[in-house]
Structures are given as structure tokens and as C-alpha cells.
Symmetry: C2
Subunit: 395 residues, 2 copies
């Protein structure tokens, strides 16, 4: 009997626990200070009314014999898969409803999708990055190659013809950098994947923040992507579902490797190891994609984007370099005067009573950078920006 | 780029699609016949009132800024983990709340738990069995050894000292056979696991049907089990959650292999590849474990057990050998006169217009056996039993 030895290669992530500890210690010695948290990646606005009312109705249905629902299809109810197809249709992407798999959030599927690929595949992952891409591949013992994001490439690394990879993670708009790939840049990635027989795992969890119509919000807006990419999306940030749990994964029928349709492999994985998302939640998700739902959630997105704009304007005024802040809820800033990420964290906490996230938490290339998020409330964002301007962090 | 080659070793399961096709063809040619389905493993009674009202309140909370909840802990809210501990306490099993992991159903965790074990482990699986145990291990390329369930051992196979296994699947009350292990039999398994450094994966999804207090409803009622077993349970059958999705996995701190606490490995797996169960659903699940909730769900279990008793009485009257029918919602019967499972399926469909599940769908030892389930409504069960007695299937 042995455990999976790859787990011994995982590094413990102390990022958020260290942040919590530092904040706790500071507030213990400075109980009168009003700390503003701009570090969390969680939403704060409640579920929109159409979603609440759809879920209320679904709960009522589950309590009556005539309308009760037992097992649904593992890949989700057709009503929701069709609603997702309708949403993609508005982006100019035609999907069949059996190419859409409803899940309990992008994080689950981003990890679980690896089941259908050989552990011998080489994986290409940007750095800095959402830590889940790295950890799930360490767990499976895959060889990982990192590609550098940095100020020189605006944290949007492009393919290197000299590197050979089988699985490629891309996230646009990016977490943590907020950077958004252009159409031409994504075309370069699709071309690279097609040439190298690679598969792109495209994390589009922040697609709804893309307001600039010249930027793609789905990789399938790029010709050829259906032959080389799986797309993961979530309602967590789109509709405030971080505690309600629903997302979707798209696996086009055109995507084949080793002569097998990946769609069929993924269906087999899900029917064997998953039992679907709660009916109640799927009804709530369906309501998101209604005309009223899209209007209501876009009102919330407007609010978060306005927060991002306020932060971006302040950083511009202070002469601080950053990515994100538009088409994204994240701002990724270069620390003033080359301060290490954690030093800047301490500085901001002590001088401005503002909490953010040190860039080193997202990879080695994050050193000297810092993440702010736009999910807080307006008053706090305005107050935090006033403080930033008064503590002398200009470069 | 290669796919996971182990997927090519999976057999397609045509069981339920063949059943559906046969029933469809029969009804097309006999539109006047009233078909009674006693084959499905899905519940039919709606969610109980305390669950409905807890979820209504939770939905309302999610729609208001002051009570909205974002990300919860991946392993579940403390209020629910503590409720599960309370439930185990009533069985005489003391658990700490960080030994309980809330999930979206036993099926997910029964598959995902394999992540933390080496692919080199040998797996011991009873036959007949719930197909998920086999398929998830084929996907991971593990060596599988089968142990025979048959009429001679009442479909309750016991350890064989000559066989060496690392992971052992046990399900009691069993799906599909309805058979329930005694305390002594489970003690033999715990002893075997401890001697062989093996880990038992104990599926207790049907524990609430155990009304005979001399039979264990948790493996942890057996001394030593915490050092060698992980237990998986679900509210699917317990509380009609097949479409609402909530269960729990117990990983005791005492359980260590290769010097590592499996609890810590599983926590790492879940925090990396899972984002928790919806808050709304966790509030519904919490209500299940309240005094009112337990009273209400046990009313439903009484109803299903009475269905099982009616079927068992009929089979006894007809002189047909079976397991289950008490302490279980399943009845596993020997087909009359050694009829092959599918022949008996056709016979029942055509002569009694009753649909069940051929035993061969659960493994080679299922040939010559047949599964009936107690989840239908009383009227249908009574009518089906009247038909069985009138079509001359006595042995």
C-alpha cells in the first residue's frame, strides 16, 4: 500500500494564511484602524433577483411529489446546456448542446480534465498563474514547463517555437494579472497548438468582464480553436455564484487526439465520477442567461469594473505600472521602487491599512508585483485609493 | 500528445440503455399495457418539509447583501460537518469535525479518492457490484482482483488470506444485492486490512435502511476501523437528495500510510480540485440531521422499507431465493429455474409488464440473478406483486 508519491512534491501554499496572520497581528496591536481588504478574489454583491426567484421556485418544486426531480443527466439538464449555447451564439460561436458540460465550478473541471490525458504529457503553464494549474499537474506527476510573464510582454506570453508541449494553460482575462490577450495573440496560440498536436485548456472564468469588443471573450472566436481547445467557464464571478457553485466546460466534437473524440472521453469521465449539479442551482444558472438575468448581472459587472477603473486611474496618477484594470476585475501593479512583494504588503498594511495580495503567491515572476481586486464595495475602494495617494508611494 | 490509454480498456455499459430500448419497443407494440418500473435506483418521494424550508431561507439569504455567502470552505461549512458528527455520535462513533468532508454525493468521492493512492496499488472488488468501483480503477490503470459474491456466501464475500490487496471496496447494505454484513463479518475485514496494511473504502450510502440494531451501519462501529478505513455516505437515498446532491466522506486522523495522514492528503486534494457544495444545499442537509428532519426522513424510509417487505413476502411465498428486502431498499433474487438474467427480464416485461434490472449488469456473478428496488410507490409495488403471483414464476 502506497500513497500517491507525487503529493509529496506539492508545496504548501501559505499565501492566504500568512496574509490572515499578518492582518490579525496588526489589528491586535492597532484595534482602532479600519482595514480595507482589496486582496480577496471573492464577490460581495448578492445573487440577482431573477436567480433568487428561479431557485425559490425550484426548491418548491423539489418539495412536491408531482414536480420532484431525482437524478438528472451528469452533464447537466438540456435546458441549461441550451442556455449556454444561446450565450455562445451571441459571441458568434455555434455550439451543440452536447458539447457543453455543466459543472460545479471551473476549478473542479480544470483539475478533473487531466484524467483523460496521459500522465506522460508535457504541460506548459504561464508564470505567474492561478496555482491550481500547477498543483493538479504535480499531483499527476506531469512534466511542467513554465513560460515567463513579465512587464516586457505585458504578462501575455506568446508561443516559443523551440518549446514542445502537449497541454497548454491559458487564462484570459488573466488571474492574477488582469491582462487580456488580443485576437492576434490567441491566433498565434491556436496555430501553435495545431502545429504541435497540443490541446489548450482555456480558462475563461472572467470572460464577462471583457467589454472591449475587439478582444475575444471565447477562444472559439478564433478559427481552428475547436480542433485544439477545451474552454472552462464559471458563473462564480459572472453571476456571484462563488457560494452557489455552477460553471460549464465546452468540449467540441472536432477535438480529437489518438483517434478519440475528447468529448466522449470527458462524458465517460463525468458519468463515472460525477452526478451533476443540483437541479435548484441549474435553474438559478438558467435564469442568469435570460434577458433579464443578463441585464441584472451586467449591472453588477459594471459596478466591479467601475471599481477597477477608480483603482487604475489612481495608479496612473501615481505613475505606477500595471496590467488589468479594464476588461478585468484584477489589477496587477509593479511595486514602487522595486520593493519586494511582501515588503510592499507590509508597507500598505501599516501605512494605508489596505490589504492586497503579494505577487510572489502566483509564481516566481510575481516577485516585485502585487494584486488588487475590484470585488469590494465602492466606498472602500474610494477610501483605499485616497490613502494610497497620501502615503507617498509614487515612483 | 496522448490520451489516457486506460480509457480504451473501459467497457461501454449498455445496461440501462438496453432496458430502455426493450421497454420502448414493447410499449410501441402494446400501447395499452401499464408498465411498472421496479428497476430504477432513484427515489420518488419529494424532499421533506424541513429541508425545503431550510433551503428557501438559504436562497433568500443569498439574495441580500447582509446575508450573502461567497466561497465557503472546500470541505464544507462547520455547521454541517458538526451535524454529521452528531449523527455519528448517535451510532456510538466519535468523530472530530475535521474528519468529515462534505461532498456532492458519494459517487464523486468514491472516484476522486483514488487520486491520493498510488496507481500501483492492487484493488479488491466484490462481484456483483456498483460499476463505479471497477470503472474508476480501470481509468487509473490499477490491477483489479475480484471476489465472488454468490448464493453460497449470501453475496457477502469474506477475506481470503491467500489474496493480497491494498485497496478494498465494501458496500453494506449492498447495491445491488441488498445484503448486509454482520458485526463479525466486518470485524474479519478490518482485521484483514490491518494485517495487510490495506485501506477499506466503505460505501455506506444505504446505512439509514439498517433497522436491525445488531447490524453495523458504520464501519467505525468496529474496533480498529479508524486505522484502516475511509467511509463514504450520501443523502441521495437517506433524504431524497439524488437531484439535490450532498454527501460526506469520513477520513479519520488515525488513518496513516507511508507515514502520511490520509486526512491531510484528501484535504489537499479537495482544496485543489473542489470548491465545496452550494451553501443552499448545505443548509438543506443540515436540516436533515435535526430532530424534525430525522423524523421526517425516517417516515420516508419506513415507506420504502414497507415496499421492500411486500416484495420480500411475495418472493418467499413463491419460493424464490433472494437477499436484501430488509435493512435495504434492494432485493436480489435468483431467477426461477435458472433462467438467464436477460431472459427473465423479457419474461417479466412481457408476462407481468414489470421492469427490473438483470443481474449481469453488475458483474459476471450476477448472471441468473435480478434486482428489484423499493423506491416506487405503494400501489405499483402491490400491483406488480399481484402480477408476479399470477404469471407462474414459482420454482
Amino acid at each position: 500500500m502506497h500513497i500517491n508519491q507525487n503529493y509529496l512534491n506539492l508545496k504548501d501554499s501559505y499565501l492566504f494564511s500568512v496574509i490572515a496572520k499578518k492582518v490579525k497581528e496588526y489589528t491586535a496591536t492597532h484595534p482602532d484602524k479600519n482595514i480595507i481588504r482589496l486582496g480577496i478574489g471573492d464577490v460581495t454583491l448578492p445573487l440577482v433577483p431573477v436567480v433568487v426567484s428561479a431557485m425559490q421556485q425550484a426548491v418548491t418544486e423539489m418539495g412536491a411529489a408531482e414536480t420532484f426531480r431525482g437524478y438528472g443527466e451528469e452533464q447537466g439538464y438540456a435546458f441549461l446546456r441550451q442556455a449556454v449555447c444561446g450565450y455562445y451564439g451571441k459571441k458568434g460561436v455555434a455550439l451543440r448542446d452536447d458539447e457543453v458540460f455543466i459543472n460545479d465550478g471551473a476549478k473542479s473541471d480544470l483539475g478533473n480534465i487531466l484524467d483523460i490525458f496521459s500522465p506522460d504529457n508535457t504541460v506548459l503553464i504561464p508564470d505567474p498563474v492561478y496555482p491550481v494549474y500547477v498543483d493538479t499537474n504535480i499531483m499527476a506527476g506531469r512534466k511542467i514547463i513554465y513560460m515567463n510573464g513579465n512587464a516586457a510582454n505585458d504578462f501575455l506570453p506568446l508561443p516559443d517555437k523551440n518549446i514542445r508541449a502537449d497541454l497548454i494553460y491559458l487564462c484570459s482575462p488573466n488571474n492574477p494579472t488582469g491582462a487580456v490577450y488580443s485576437r492576434e495573440q490567441l491566433k498565434a496560440w491556436v496555430d501553435y497548438a495545431l502545429e504541435n498536436d497540443a490541446v489548450i485548456l482555456f480558462d475563461s472564468a472572467y470572460e464577462i468582464f471583457v467589454r472591449d469588443k475587439t478582444k475575444p471573450s471565447s477562444l472559439y472566436q478564433i478559427d481552428g480553436a475547436k480542433e485544439c481547445a477545451i474552454e472552462f467557464c464559471s458563473l462564480s464571478k459572472t453571476a456571484g455564484f462563488t457560494g452557489t457553485r455552477c460553471g460549464y466546460t465546452v468540449v467540441p466534437h472536432e477535438l480529437k487526439r489518438d483517434g478519440a473524440e475528447l468529448n466522449k472521453l470527458w462524458l465517460r469521465r463525468q458519468t463515472t465520477k460525477f452526478n451533476g449539479v443540483p437541479y435548484i442551482v441549474q435553474r438559478g444558472a438558467e435564469a442568469v442567461f435570460s434577458d433579464a438575468g443578463l441585464a441584472q448581472i451586467n449591472g453588477n459587472i459594471d459596478y466591479y469594473l467601475q471599481n477597477a477603473r477608480i483603482m487604475a486611474d489612481t495608479l496612473t496618477k501615481l505613475g505606477i505600472w500595471f496590467t488589468g484594470g479594464e476588461n478585468s476585475p484584477y489589477i496587477w501593479l509593479k511595486t514602487p521602487n522595486g520593493m519586494p512583494s511582501w515588503d510592499f504588503f507590509d508597507f500598505l498594511l501599516e501605512k494605508a491599512n489596505v490589504v492586497g495580495t503579494p505577487g510572489t503567491g502566483f509564481g516566481v515572476n510575481g516577485e516585485g508585483f502585487f494584486r488588487l481586486t475590484a470585488f469590494g464595495n465602492r466606498e472602500n475602494v474610494l477610501e483605499a485609493m485616497r490613502r494610497l495617494q497620501s502615503v507617498g508611494i509614487a515612483t
